[in-house]
């Protein structure tokens, strides 16, 4: 991912260069005053197909901000994000549709990310329609559900009729139906129970075998990330402080933040 040789360069999907971000918290009621808070400083990353990158760091380290910049939800205060060679800020409508299809996001809380009034099948159909995906939609949905280990009959249920783990699978399925090039998951398992968490992490681990898709998994739990992904990026105080393969990072951490994370990850 950080290698500069031309072979990886050609497969690069998403490139972030020197992205910074400041949150502007406006205090209401009293004096309206914009307080600028730097959440991310000069972060760069190249994501190529087949990558499985874990992003770790303590809370407030800038992981989510970075992920939201990657997925186009936030526009960086400075720096450039480009998708398949095009700057997100200068995209044509057509390219933008491609980007929205190509980069999918899975949120921490699956309950909050489904419309409770829709049947799950309709929730899954929605991205296929709005992103104008061709093909037999029903087939695509069925195949994806099988892939994430859900029963096909679940499409007739509502979100409250599923357990947290099932619903998170459904959220992953919804991201996968459009065959994204990059799948970003922000703490997808931390609202889930131990036994269910293992199921979800296994699912992500399976997804890393897909050479056509890049997976970005964000978590504060180093063990969960290390179990699932191939590479690890450590965030601390709004920046990337260390990156490398899982074994490199775990065996010989270079930065104190990494060492702290390893230290904090108490075992049984």
């Amino acid at each position: 991912m950080s290698k500069q040789d031309s072979a990886t360069e050609s497969k690069a999907i998403l490139i972030v260069e020197n992205a910074s971000y400041e949150y502007r918290a406006v205090r209401k009621k009293l004096i309206s005053r914009a307080v600028r808070q730097s959440a991310l400083g000069n972060a760069s990353m190249t994501i190529s197909s087949g990558d499985a990158i874990g992003i770790v760091g303590s809370s407030g380290a800038g992981k989510t901000t970075f992920a939201r910049i990657l997925s186009g939800q936030l526009v960086p205060s400075s720096g450039v994000v480009s998708y398949l060679g095009t700057d997100l800020q200068q995209m044509s409508n057509e390219n933008e549709l491609g980007f929205r299809r190509g980069v999918q996001y899975v949120f921490q809380n699956p309950r909050a990310s489904f419309d409770p009034r829709l049947k799950l099948g309709d929730s899954l159909l929605e991205p296929l329609k709005s992103l104008k995906i061709l093909g037999n939609h029903q087939n695509i949905i069925d195949q994806t559900l099988i892939k994430v280990g859900l029963d096909i009959s679940m499409i007739d249920r509502f979100s409250h009729e599923l357990s947290g783990g099932q619903l998170q699978r459904m959220a992953i399925a919804r991201a996968l139906v459009v065959k994204p090039k990059v799948l970003i998951a922000d703490e997808p398992s931390s609202s889930l129970d131990v036994s269910v968490r293992a199921q979800i992490l296994n699912l992500f681990k399976d997804l890393t075998d897909d050479e056509d898709m890049a997976l970005i998994l964000i978590a504060h739990d180093l063990a969960a990330v290390a179990y699932t992904t191939k590479q690890i990026v450590v965030f601390s105080a709004g920046g990337i402080v260390e990156q490398g393969s899982v074994s490199e990072v775990l065996v010989a951490p270079k930065h104190k933040a990494t060492a702290d994370l390893i230290d904090a990850s108490i075992g049984i």
Partner: protein, 322 residues
């Protein structure tokens, strides 16, 4: 063996015909740290709240729970007010909602302190600095003047611990004290909790779904499933050699760096299915729907078999060795 502080017998927490905790028995000795683990909905919080007499409306506890010789189950609200904080107190999970947003931290701590009516040689102002020091809060004077939302999650959680220990209780129930903070802060918070418990010579009931927390910080463990205790005993033996299929499965599905470092690509075993809702707990062993060793015998509720120092509620305990 030290004296028993809390003795719980045939204890249930129910609302009408449904029960969140079903006929549990356990003991907490003086100076002991007991961990309670289990999946979401196993009844851990309801058990903790019921001991405090703070159950949600419509819920009640039955059976017996004796704290230092006093029966909690039939205790009047007036007596409960007298023992809450002083004899038994609680650390709650979500520190932001558990603290009064309109009162300064200092004032909230002061209430807990003043309530104790313990004859103390020191005034609140003297005490508070010692306390803040033991909570590892830098710049105590400034922090005391702050409102909860101005502190970080880890700081707030430590303040809650401070409130729980301010009245010198004999038993502290901590319900998921670290689920809302990240792993680095988790350790600071737990260290502060444990050191304060030891400082007071109190006992601790630590409720969590994280097996690693219990195995690192507690001496005894209770594993709950669908309102029942399925296995309990010393942490070393239960974690080192689990007997109940559910305990085994929980430990198996736990990810830890140690395992990753050793066998990099090994797949985690998972427990199929999910825990039944309390309205639909099957008869017999509640785990039978997910258990690989289930047989016809499991249609009948297994009793708590004694295996050495531990209890195991299963018909098919493979080996009886410790």
């Amino acid at each position: 063996m030290s004296k028993d502080l809390l003795t719980v017998k045939n204890y249930s927490v129910s609302s009408g015909s449904i029960s969140a905790v079903r006929q549990v028995d356990f003991k907490v000795s003086e100076n002991e740290k007991l961990g309670i683990v289990g999946e979401s909905g196993a009844g851990k919080s309801m058990l903790g709240l019921s001991l405090m007499g703070l159950l949600p409306f419509g819920w009640e506890s039955t059976g017996s729970a004796e704290l230092a010789g006093r029966e909690l189950v039939s205790m009047s609200e007036k007596d409960l007010v007298g023992i809450r904080g002083r004899d038994i107190s609680m650390v709650f999970q979500d520190s932001l909602s558990a603290l009064n947003p309109m009162k300064k931290i200092g004032k909230q701590l002061e209430f807990a302190f003043k309530h104790a009516e313990v004859s103390r040689s020191e005034s609140f102002d003297e005490y508070i600095l010692t306390l803040m020091h033991s909570l590892k809060i830098d710049d105590p004077e400034l922090s005391l003047q702050k409102y909860p939302h101005q502190l970080s999650g880890g700081q707030r959680q430590r303040i809650l611990i401070g409130m729980a220990v301010a009245c010198n209780p004999r038993l502290i129930v901590a319900d998921e004290p670290t689920t809302s903070v990240d792993s680095v802060i988790q350790r600071d918070v737990l260290d502060v909790l444990i050191s304060n418990v030891s400082r007071l010579g109190a006992s601790l009931v630590l409720i969590t779904h994280d097996l690693a927390v219990v195995s690192n910080y507690c001496e005894k463990i209770i594993v709950m499933y669908a309102g029942k205790i399925v296995e309990s005993g010393p942490v070393v033996s239960v974690m080192g050699n689990p007997k109940h299929p559910y305990t085994k499965a929980l430990i198996g599905s736990h990810i830890s760096l140690k395992h990753i470092k050793s066998g990099m690509s090994k797949r985690l075993p998972v427990i199929p299915g999910m825990m039944p809702a309390i309205q639909a707990i099957p008869t017999g062993c509640a785990f039978k729907t997910r258990c690989g060793s289930a047989t016809a015998a499991c249609e009948v509720q297994p009793p708590n078999f004694l295996v050495g120092e531990r209890t195991v509620s299963c018909w098919h305990i493979e080996d009886q060795s410790e």
